[in-house]
């Protein structure tokens, strides 16, 4: 089959359609995912194609949605739950940490929980409060839950298919800002990108830039002027520490870029891994470019909050000083 030039929304839609065709146990549930096709239209057309039993509009209840998905997953289905925005995933935190991530361990493998929870995440669309959250680190701290973040249409399609096929629960975070920002050639037929592996987006010698999701695109732009490695982590938990360490051992310098507030963000985990396992190769401080440790402002100030290219460039210049 041929390739198709699509944006991330379309790529995700293709992945869902492909997985639903492949496996009749794959079902979708969430608020407005049916006739409406989802607030961002990621599930558009699937209701018409697969019917109301496989594309279910639910009442407004995120903990219930994730909780139901757990029951569905344990008993033979592969649910893909959509939460409308990451800010509304918080009420389901308990179901994820207390149940989804532990069903397998709790039952010593008798029950699994092969489910995906998808949610748009991050800022950049100038929406109202709680529509620009990037609290991935809180979820990465949950053993038993995988956390995946695509950064382009191609990776979105391959990672989502892999998430659906994974036997364990996966939180799939879709950078809202990228939904329609970039178009890319994507194979029409299903393919997967393995979870837990990073990709080297650009190769260089003088520093390692590590990022994921929407920050990756800014990082790539900032990196244009430099001879650096750029790593797209893609899976945050469990993340590809080996890829990071190999690169940092080569370059001796690391900059990690995240949108979330700095304190206890995922960048801190990456920095800690470097400080623990690649310290002898380091020529410079490990710098995190991150959101500020303040309550995320409303849209009018959002652009001042989210790291921009200049802040990334400053950080690169800073490590290159050493």
């Amino acid at each position: 089959m041929a390739n198709k030039t699509v944006n991330m929304v379309e790529a995700l839609n293709m992945a869902l359609a492909g997985e639903m065709e492949r496996d009749s146990n794959v079902v979708i549930l969430g608020e407005d995912v049916g006739v409406d096709g989802g607030v961002f239209r990621v599930t558009a057309g699937l209701y018409g194609k697969f019917g109301p039993e496989r594309v279910m509009d639910t009442p407004l209840a995120e903990s219930g949605i994730v909780g139901m998905a757990i029951g569905m997953a344990a008993f033979g289905l592969v649910p893909v739950a959509e939460i409308q925005f990451m800010g509304f995933l918080y009420p389901a935190f308990d179901q994820l940490i207390s149940n989804a991530s532990r069903i397998r361990a709790r039952s010593r493998g008798r029950y699994g929980c092969p489910m995906v929870v998808r949610t748009p995440y991050g800022g950049g669309i100038k929406a109202i409060e709680l529509h620009s959250e990037s609290a991935e680190a809180a979820f990465c701290h949950i053993p038993g839950l995988k956390v995946v973040v695509p950064s382009s249409p191609y990776t979105a399609k391959g990672l989502l298919a892999a998430a659906v096929r994974d036997p364990d629960p996966v939180l799939f975070l879709e950078p809202t800002r990228l939904y329609r920002l970039i178009k890319e050639e994507v194979p029409e037929e299903p393919f997967t990108i393995p979870l837990g592996k990073a990709r080297l987006v650009k190769e260089g010698r003088n520093a390692t830039l590590i990022s994921w999701g929407s920050m990756l695109q800014k990082t790539i732009k900032a990196a244009e002027a430099y001879d650096v490695d750029v790593i797209d982590l893609m899976t945050l938990s469990p993340y590809d520490e080996d890829a990071v360490l190999a690169s940092v051992k080569k370059t001796g310098r690391a900059v990690i870029i995240q949108e979330a507030p700095r304190n206890c963000g995922f960048a801190s985990e990456v920095a800690a891994g470097i400080a623990e396992k690649a310290i002898l190769s380091l020529k410079a401080p490990v710098i995190r470019v991150a959101g500020y440790d303040v309550v995320l402002p409303f849209p009018k100030l959002e652009d001042f909050y989210i790291p921009n290219q200049r802040r990334i460039t400053d950080a690169i210049e800073e490590v290159l000083k050493y």
């Binding site: 409406d36 407004l60 109202i128 440790d293 921009n308």
Partner: protein, 355 residues
Amino acid sequence: MPEYNAGTFEVKRLDILDSHGNSDRALMPSLGEPEIKEIYRRLVLARAFDQRVLALQREGRMGTYASILGQEASQVASAYAAGNGARVFPSYRETGTLIALGYPLYMLFQYWSGDERGMKVPEGMNVFPICISVSSHVPHAVGAAMAARIKKEPVPSVAYFGDGATSKGDFHEGANMAGAFNLPVVLICQNNQWAISLPRSRQSAAATLAQKAIAYGFDGIQVDGNDVFAVYTAVKRALDKARNGKGPTLIECFTYRLSDHTTADNASRYRSADEVERWKKLDPLARLGKFMEKENMMPSGYAEEAARQATAEVDEGFKKYEEAGPPSPEDMFRNTFKTPAAGQMKQLGSFSGGK
């Protein structure tokens, strides 16, 4: 040892003003002509503001906005009943409530343009900031009512939320606590028949939302939400009851969202034009107008004058909004804590101010 009745429960429905403007005299609340006119003017103002934000949004001058078209009666009449003697906990779709309570229009423009200064509720107003996470403010209202009781303040709480919100855990936990502690709380469900694309019938198998109160051991009532008098009466009664220590009430305002869910939505994808047309005929503003005409409260030119005044107020609010200008970027380093933490001060220190 039989199978026997362990409890019978009834849910009432209150209608006072029909769509032709005829009212049930026996049930009419004691509102004089000036008060009825005042309610009318606030309805007009709420609608004028709503339509203005929609227009500005289309021009890209406001952010995503949730219109209240069709729900003005249930918002304005309930707020009129509450006044400043209750603490009001709004969701994002309570522009009519806020306007009826006297919230400065320029601040509402700020809010919907993405400027949080708009939520610095003016001192003296008993309003809590708009809550976006659906139903999560219901427990806040309950806690405020607890504070009122403990501090011996005669101030009931009034929480507004939608039909969809009744499915969420926080609605349940808050309502059950309100019942268990017998607190002065009025829960106003704006049942506008839709939660984005999910129709009311699929939100819950319950025939009415009012009956959910039975689960919490207090009264629930459904009212015609497009009938200012029914809404006013139910809220007034519930507030009186709350003030008399008789506990919470759930009021289901049966109304309709005539607009899209928000400006980011396209309701024609999931609901029929017919349904919308049917509800347009039940327009709450037109209905009160008809009543006022019949009752000779509507001298010729009155409606036009009210509309003109509303437009002027909205114009003025918008002007003031524009004059206030954008917030300062450094604002984001304020108000996370009362006193900024050392780390925050360092981050502010290195903040260049650029985008």
